[in-house]
Each structure stands twice: as structure tokens, then as C-alpha cells.
Symmetry: C2
Subunit: 328 residues, 2 copies
């Protein structure tokens, strides 16, 4: 069935069920001029938004609608985690090409609802419009953070360690694999492709970091190089990163060899990992829990400005902030 | 200068100044993973979002970038007013065709900042991406409302009057005029075209209505017919509207005559007026202030369902909910 057969209001009826997973503070959800909720007493409100555009952020030949919906929410939740907060509510704006199948739109929302259910986020509103130029998804997420748990990009102090969660580069390598015929035959390719199509944001980690002593944080959406520059600039410090400390998965090493690429380039310049990078004193780092999340110290904070990369032969080079840059 | 010459981060530097007009409750504005603000104690939070797509919602040959920015914010503020609330903060996502001039993007933000300054709304974040399929603007606005001032679509009671603010149909008539060669020669055309390109939402009225006894409200974005059906359906009532009571400006009557159209059709089915429609008891209606905003009782609330239109000859017909419907 095509969108033009159900119309705008018919579509809204199809997608609005199961949108609320935690009704406690929702006063008005989907279906009025604005959504209404009760803010958490004594907490700050967080607000983030991300727009995903067809053929810029995604290719409908390489992702299912369900995966796309999941990811569109994930990238916003990751921003909330990077501030030390917990997501509460989402609004979804969607620009739909009229030729799209209704089933695909329902699957897109099913992907959103799955990750929202997992992290107890309510979909409380949105906008549904036509878009002749291709599919566009914009999600806004509000969250809450206790003031003492708030993490900004600007708190890094000389002497801190630079720490990342998980492994880096998997998502960018997975994207490369998706454009290679027959990638499905390689077992090691699946976790990389999954990291790209359905990234899992570090929602459990973000809200704990300030209490462990983290001084600044950012999520890794544009590659470690770009995010390291953001942290350095916002904090008025420089960072020194060690190439051989950057955590790479066994899969990215295998896949990069097959693709004739350097795995470290995926980690530094690839982006879309949705891991966290943060700074923390060395003693506080030692108190971070062992598992289930991998924490790796990849460098240190110094005075000055910029980001240096130290290679295995102990040679230092300025690390360029290149990563994805729209309009270039 | 083209966007590709300044890049994503250069553009953000060009637009982020003067984004905060009321810093009192802003903890973190543009430039981190998420914006952070302090919610108002004892109030509900409101959240609304609207997406505007090139060649669906606007035509860059008929609007300046400044006007488009102003309107993109206005349509969101109108939703906050319709809930009885006051807007506080906005986030702006924008998908930009790479061939766009940087000056046009700066003007787009200048239009947004003008209406934000006027209504004391801070731009605290957003997302800036490329969009090969045309310009897309998505704005999210958070506001606050005292619980006792909250107005929903669902509170209309049989016996209430149906009331609208201002005059209706001006915007849709202005849109028709924009496509007619030489409209600039007609003095009466200017206020209609302005109503279409830079609508002024009823921000002062919305927050006062509940205290005057209004029982439900909606903003008129899709034409009175469509909104009347929304109110009737949400409240479980029917509405009876009187055609000759619907307030029309002298300009819309003149312009419609020239265009060979019925002015009432613009009011009922045209949309984008961003006036308010609300229901209120007859005695409470009499207590509404005389000016500066025009309040007109256009009908009454009855039991049952649907919307009837009574014409000048006292004949009743079912009023169709037609208005703009995406995907049709």
C-alpha cells in the first residue's frame, strides 16, 4: 500500500500505538499541538536533535527501514549519554517521498520503538510531511541530568587521561563492507555491519562518568580525530593520542586487511561509532569498573592546543581534524 | 560565497552569535552534544516540532530566506500558544543543498533570530547537514505552561461557543496572489502576502485563555474546517459553525473577487493562518478583552459528532475536513 492511499492522518493512526513506554511523566502525547510532560525536579533538561537525509546519511539499498529507524534514535540518545544524562522523550519529524510503501514507514517506526522501549524513551509527538526530494528523518530527544552528573566538552585538565569506550572504527569499516559484493560470506563482517546499521549508544556508561571523576566527554560521531579536536578546543588544552593504544576489534583488523585499508584510519577518521571519549584523572581511571564496557586510555591531556598522534615508532605528528564535514 | 567554501563548522561559527536572548535558564547552548537548561519549577514542559520541505511548504522563488526563517519558527510558536504556554528554547535542524549561498543561510537564521528575539526564545542547538534533494528545515521548540493554564483539544463541552482570533483565509489568499503576476500593484495584496510569508502567532493570547475559561484550543494551521474536526473528534462533540460569522478581512474579500474565488473557502480550507480556535462558555466569552486581538464567536458546541456549516440561508451541510493532507 502506498502513502497516498492512507493519507497523512491514516498514517499517524498506524504509527501512534506503543509510542509511550513510561507514562509516569507524560501529560499529553501524540495528537495535540504540542506534547506535554512533567520535568524532573532538581534536574537539568537536555535537548538534542539530529537530521538524517537520504543519500547523505543513509542509502535505502543498504539499510532496512527498521534499522534506519533504530539508528535515527540511537544517534540522538548517544548525545544525551555524552552529557551524562538519561533520555526521556522523543519527537519524530519525517519527510516521506509519496511513492514509499506504508509498510516501510511502519517498519521505520518499529525500529524507533524498539530502541525507545529498550532505553525507556517515549515518542510523544512529531510531524509527518511529504518530501519529494527523498526521505528525511529529524528526531529531537529531551533528557534529564542531575547537575552534578553533567559532562561538557570543556572540562578537560592537563594531566587527565583521554579514555574511549568500546572499540573504534567498526562502523566505518562496516559501511565500506556494505559496498563490497559478497560481504555476507565473511563471518567477521557481520558485527562491523551491525555496528554501522544499528549502533548501540553507551547509555549505561554516560550517566556514571561524572561520579567516577570524568572531567569532559563527547560522543564519537565523526571519528576520534574530529572529536579529540572538539574536546581540545572546548577545553583550551591539547591532547596527545597514542596510535597503538587505540582499541580496534579483531574484526576491523581482518576486514581492513581484506579491503586494503588501515584499520586505524577507520578509528580516527571514520565516524559513527557512537562510543564515548572522555577525560579523567589517572587515579580516577583506575577506579573505573572492569566490564562489561571496555575502557581504554588512549592518550593524555596537555597544555597548549591541537591534537598530536604518537605512532608506534614514537614519532609525533599533528592529527588533522578530518572526518565527515557536510558541504565539503 | 558557497557553503562548500566555508564548510559545516565555518557555517556554525557564522550563525551561532545572538542565539541566546534570555540567558537566565540556559546552562549550555550551541556547541556541545546537547543543550542544557533549567526547567521552570511547578510548570509542565511543552515540546513541539515542525518540518518544512522545499517545494512542499515553501518555494524559494516566492519567499526570501529571512521570511522563511521567520515563518519556520512562527509555526512552532503557534503550537505552543495553542497549548496555553510560553516558548522558551528552540533547536534548529537544517538540510542545505550544497549550491546554496552562505548569505542566504545567514539571512534564514536572521529571520529566525528576529522572531525569537521578539518572543524571547533562545536558539540553543541544532544540526547542520547537507541535503541534495532540496532545503529542509526542522525546528523543535520547548516551552512551559502552568498546569492550570494548559489547553488541550479535548475539553470542549456542549453549550460552549466556538471562537476564533483574528481574520481567517488571509494566508491562503496571499499564497494564491504570490502566483499571480503583478500582485504587487494591488495595495490590498500586501497584508495577505505578509500573512502568508511572515505569520504572527497569537503568543499573547494563548496563555490567557484558560484563565478566561476556555475549555479547548487548537491553532489554525490547516484551515478552520480541518481544525474544527480535530477539536470535535478530540472532545467527542460536534460543532456547528455559521458561515456568515467567520471573520474575513476586507483585503481577502477584495482579493478573492479579483481572483474569482470565494473568500470563505480560503478561511475554511486554506490553512496557515496560525490564528487560534477555542471553545468557551458564553458568559466567559463576554468577559474576553475588547482588543487588541479580535475574538469572534463563529459557532457552538453540540453533542454528537462531526461539523455542520450553516449558511446565510440557514441551510446546514456537513463540513468536510479537507485542508492540506500530505501524501494525497
Amino acid at each position: 500500500m502506498k502513502l497516498k492511499e492512507v493519507g497523512e492522518f491514516g498514517l499517524i493512526d498506524l504509527i501512534k500505538h506503543n509510542a509511550i513506554v513510561d507514562p509516569a511523566d507524560v501529560v499529553v502525547g501524540i495528537g495535540d499541538d504540542a506534547a506535554v510532560y512533567v520535568p524532573a525536579v532538581g534536574r537539568y533538561e537536555l535537548l538534542t536533535t539530529d537530521m538524517l537525509v537520504e543519500n547523505v546519511h543513509f542509502d535505502l539499498a543498504k539499510t532496512t527501514a527498521w534499522q534506519l529507524g533504530y539508528k535515527a534514535v540511537a544517534v540522538n540518545l548517544s548525545d544525551i549519554a555524552a552529557m551524562g544524562g538519561q533520555p526521556r522523550h522523543a519527537v519524530v519529524s519525517i519527510g516521506l517521498p509519496p511513492h514509499l510503501e506504508v509498510d516501510d514507514v511502519v517498519e521505520l517506526y518499529n525500529g524507533m520503538k524498539e530502541i525507545c522501549r529498550e532505553f525507556r524513551v517515549n515518542i510523544i509527538g512529531g510531524d509527518t510531511v511529504s518530501s519529494p526530494g527523498g526521505l528525511v528523518i529529524n528526531i529531537g530527544v529531551v533528557g534529564a541530568v542531575e547537575p552534578e552528573k553533567l559532562l561538557r566538552r570543556s572540562g578537560a585538565r592537563p594531566g587527565d587521561l583521554v579514555v574511549v569506550t568500546g572499540t573504534l572504527g567498526d562502523s566505518a569499516c562496516g559501511l565500506d563492507l556494505l559496498f563490497r559484493q559478497g560481504w555476507e560470506e565473511f563471518g567477521f563482517a557481520w558485527p562491523l555491519v551491525s555496528a554501522h546499521l544499528t549502533p548501540r549508544p553507551q547509555m549505561a556508561v554516560g550517566p556514571t562518568l561524572a561520579a567516577f571523576g570524568a572531567t569532559s566527554a563527547d560522543d564519537i560521531s565523526d571519528g576520534l580525530a574530529s572529536e579529540a579536536h572538539e574536546l581540545a578546543r572546548a577545553s583550551g588544552v591539547s591532547l596527545r593520542l597514542y596510535a597503538d593504544k587505540i582499541p580496534l576489534s579483531a574484526e576491523v583488523v581482518q576486514a581492513a586487511a581484506m579491503l586494503g585499508k588501515k584499520p586505524l584510519d577507520y578509528a580516527l577518521f571514520g565516524g559513527e561509532d557512537y562510543q564515548l571519549v572522555f577525560t579523567i584523572g589517572a587515579e580516577d581511571f583506575d577506579r573505573l569498573p572492569n566490564g562489561p564496557v571496555l575502557f581504554t586510555a588512549v592518550g593524555e591531556v596537555l597544555g597548549g592546543q591541537g591534537v598530536l598522534l604518537v605512532d608506534a615508532a614514537d614519532a609525533s605528528t599533528e592529527l588533522e581534524p578530518r572526518g565527515y564535514n557536510h558541504f565539503r
